[in-house]
């Protein structure tokens, strides 16, 4: 382990400290973006198991129309913490802190993020926040859903304040991550890595970072207001003292709508890496995909009130929100069509990762289309607050974000461990997951249309049969996820060795050894073309020694 410390006259790119020794500095309070990325992933997957267990509790409760497993009070706590966990402790940390940290700095040819210490701090805010959220079960967890609308959230137990504090911490952590990533991408790209040569995963992170920075801060304000109202009686949301419950809804959704794009844009980026690699084809319409991400991010700030069509805003306001929301289908459609075109004429390697990516295309499209239905106010008047919403949100979040994450897990696993995950088991788990997922959430569309409201611990007996279908399929999905977990754990020691580039991929992270070495590159490479020309030689210079194990270059004397 001889990364040479050089304080020679070069800039940041040559600024290399010796690799830290000792377990604590190396794996616990590490400032290495790759270790931090893995820390994020492990923590988030642990929370995913918790959140998934809560989801199964929900499904078991709903096996019977009269409930039976839990009291309504407990049930309310369970889905509130389920939603909060999955959004804030699983999907967002995995996509930004996890895969973002692990991959994108390497893809732009940087040796670390701009502020490694800040990065470490961001991570270390995350586990305490998660523990706080779960500790709230001890004192009456929040019950009003992940959206915590007042006045209900003002009446809840002390756990609701804990919830607010926990999510606030996560928000601070996300804001810092956003700043960090943005500066890194703006300032630390390798020579020649122009914006139009950046891999699309980097584009995903690049448009997500400002969302993280701006939207999470707005959420912080809303949470702070809720907290001080609960603790000090400040009257923001109290109608009897001039406050307004709708104010919370505005403040919350102003964050939370952009937040749903935080949860999908990086996944779009992953898909944009995986599809070309396994089709052996350049991604179709690189510029349109990159540009449409920006369009989505900008439009994403202008549509928040589509969650509030029924809550009493002026009809004149419904109109722009309806139209702007529908507009988002255009840039998203451009992406979907470009991805499908990428498949055309390829030489498609059906790896597990590719299966998940293709599955993503299908299920996310369905979820997106139901989203456009909901944007139509008259239809939303019927569907709001029902299982139709639950179906939409799981199709985009599980069928979109989570499928993207699983595709990414199989794809980038070698970069973490130096080994491949088991493909055979992987394909089995894909099909189980795909079937289980659709079986769980597809029926919820008509359940909602027919009149089953969301957030209920018991329901009309006429819906029982379909709810049981949902529950049984959710067991299938759980089995699939457990298989993936086993696969990941088992492959850590027993997987096939991958070598640096098992998929013949062309972005920079595949041109260095797996697992990726401390400080990533011996030489910072220079880049002279976009990364997706599978028929061309690699467009990088300066990586010649990277894989040969030759001694690191001696920096020119200064």
């Amino acid at each position: 382990m001889t990364a040479v410390a050089t304080h020679a006259g070069g800039g940041l790119a040559d600024h290399v400290h010796p690799e830290p020794q000792g377990f604590i500095r190396k794996y616990v309070f590490s400032i290495d973006h790759k270790i931090i990325g893995i820390q994020y992933m492990i923590t988030a997957f642990l929370f995913m198991i918790l959140g998934g267990m809560l989801a199964e509790l929900i499904r078991i409760q709903l096996m019977k129309a009269s409930g039976g497993l839990m009291t309504p009070e407990t049930y309310n706590e369970v889905y509130s913490v389920h939603g909060s966990t999955m959004v804030w402790l699983v999907i967002i940390p995995l996509l930004t802190g996890g895969f973002g940290n692990l991959i994108f700095p390497v893809q732009i040819g940087a040796r670390d993020v701009a502020f490694p210490w800040l990065n470490m701090l961001s991570f270390w805010l995350f586990p305490p926040a998660g523990l706080m959220l779960y500790a709230s079960f001890l004192m009456g967890a929040p019950t009003a859903g992940w959206t915590e609308y007042p006045p209900m959230s003002l009446l809840g137990g002390a756990g609701t304040s804990m919830w607010a504090a926990a999510i606030f911490l996560i928000g601070v952590s996300s804001t810092m991550t956003g700043i960090n990533f943005l500066v890194t991408i703006l300032k630390m790209r390798a020579p020649g890595m122009t914006f139009t040569r950046m891999p699309l995963f980097v584009w995903g992170q690049f448009v997500t970072a400002p969302l993280l920075m701006i939207a999470t801060t707005a959420l912080g304000a809303a949470l702070a207001a809720l907290f001080v109202q609960r603790q000090f009686g400040v009257a923001f949301f109290d109608p009897t003292r001039g406050g307004s419950p709708l104010l919370w809804q505005h403040m919350f959704w102003f964050y939370s709508h952009p937040a749903v794009y935080i949860m999908i844009l990086p996944a779009f980026g992953m898909i944009s890496e995986i599809l070309p690699t396994f089709s052996r084809k350049p991604i179709f319409g690189y510029k349109m995909i990159a540009f449409s991400s920006c369009a989505i991010a900008i439009l994403g700030f202008m549509v928040w009130a589509h969650h509030m069509f029924t809550s009493g805003m002026a009809p004149a306001l419904q109109l722009p929100f309806m139209v702007l929301t529908m507009l988002i289908a255009i840039p998203t459609g451009v992406k979907i069509f470009s991805w499908v075109t990428t498949l055309w004429g390829g030489v498609i390697h059906m790896t597990t990762s590719m299966l998940f990516a293709i599955g993503f295309l299908a299920t996310f499209t369905l979820g997106g289309i139901t989203g456009v239905f909901l944007a139509a106010v008259p239809f939303d008047l019927h569907a709001h607050g029902t299982y139709f919403i639950v179906a939409h949100l799981h199709y985009v979040l599980v069928g979109g974000s989570l499928m993207g994450i699983l595709a990414g897990l199989f794809y980038w696993y070698p970069k973490m461990s130096g080994r491949l995950m088991n493909e055979k088991l992987g394909k089995w788990s894909f099909w189980l997951f795909f079937i289980g997922f659709n079986g769980t959430f597809l029926p919820m569309h008509w359940l909602g249309m027919w009149g089953q409201p969301r957030r209920v611990a018991m329901y009309d007996p006429q819906f029982q049969a379909w709810n049981q279908v949902c529950t049984y399929f959710s067991f299938v999905m759980t089995a699939a996820l457990i298989l993936i977990l086993i696969n990941a754990l088992w492959s850590m020691r027993n997987g096939k060795r991958s070598g640096p580039n098992p998929w013949n991929a062309r972005t920079l992270e595949w041109q260095i050894p797996s697992p990726m070495p401390y400080y990533n590159f011996k030489h910072v490479p220079s880049v002279f073309a976009a990364p997706y020309d599978f028929a061309e030689p690699l467009p990088y210079r300066g990586l010649e020694e990277e894989l040969t194990g030759a001694p690191p270059p001696v920096p020119a004397a200064h």
């Binding site: 304080h7 006259g9 070069g10 800039g11 940041l12 040559d14 600024h15 701009a114 502020f115 800040l118 804001t175 956003g178 700043i179 960090n180 943005l182 500066v183 703006l186 300032k187 630390m188 920075m213 701006i214 999470t216 801060t217 707005a218 912080g220 304000a221 809303a222 207001a225 001080v228 109202q229 000090f232 009686g233 400040v234 009257a235 923001f236 109608p239 003292r241 001039g242 406050g243 307004s244 104010l247 505005h250 403040m251 102003f254």
Partner: protein, 203 residues
């Protein structure tokens, strides 16, 4: 990075180490990161400003004829705060002109003015009479000005630390990113106050 070793009071040639490329690039990163931090801080204020305007215009429960704010006091206070922005500017300029003594004087001046502003705020709070928990005026006014006050308070501590660090030789006359950031921060707090003053006292 060699820290310029400076003997007491000897702020002269020893402190003019030439900036290398590492310094230049790091300085750029830190300034950009800091600007982005201020953007997100601005979002925090904007959210509460939105809340204030929303509550005020939703027609429910805003005190008739407006609350009893002392615009004269606030105006004086604003001048104090803007003055401190000017003194901070002079401080940094003097550092750039390699005059430590003047730098230190100006920064002390800034801290005093900042403290003066906080005192003025406390006076205003005492004379308004409303409480944080009494109605939505209290909620908006005390939350926003309180947050701003905390920013000023943090700024005073920040500037004090910078002064001490400078005295210990942490910065040189050619490498002083920390001081630049401190100045940026202080100006940012000033600008926020302009907005708060206009929406509470002039609107």
């Amino acid at each position: 990075m060699a820290v310029a070793s400076v003997s007491h009071g000897g702020y002269s040639g020893a402190m003019t180490e030439e900036p290398d490329q590492l310094y230049v690039e790091t300085r750029e990163l830190r300034i950009q990161g800091f600007l982005l931090f201020m953007v997100s801080d601005l979002v925090l204020f904007s959210s509460f400003i939105f809340a204030y305007l929303y509550l005020r215009n939703s027609g429910q429960g805003w005190p008739a004829g407006g609350p009893k704010l002392d615009i004269a006091l606030a105006a004086v206070n604003s001048i104090v705060l803007f003055g401190s922005g000017a003194t901070m500017h002079f401080a940094l300029e003097n550092w750039k002109h390699r005059n430590f003594t003047k730098f230190a004087n100006w920064i002390v001046m800034t801290i005093i003015l900042g403290a003066g502003f906080l005192t003025g705020q406390v006076l205003e709070y005492m004379h308004i009479g409303a409480r944080w928990s009494s109605g939505i005026f209290g909620a908006s006014f005390y939350t926003l000005t309180g947050m701003h006050g905390l920013h000023v308070f943090a700024g005073i501590i920040y500037l004090t630390v910078l002064l001490l660090q400078a005295a210990q030789g942490k910065y040189t006359f050619t490498k002083y990113t920390g001081l630049t950031l401190g100045t940026l921060y202080w100006h940012f707090v000033d600008v926020i106050w302009v907005v708060l003053f206009s929406i509470f006292y002039l609107l």
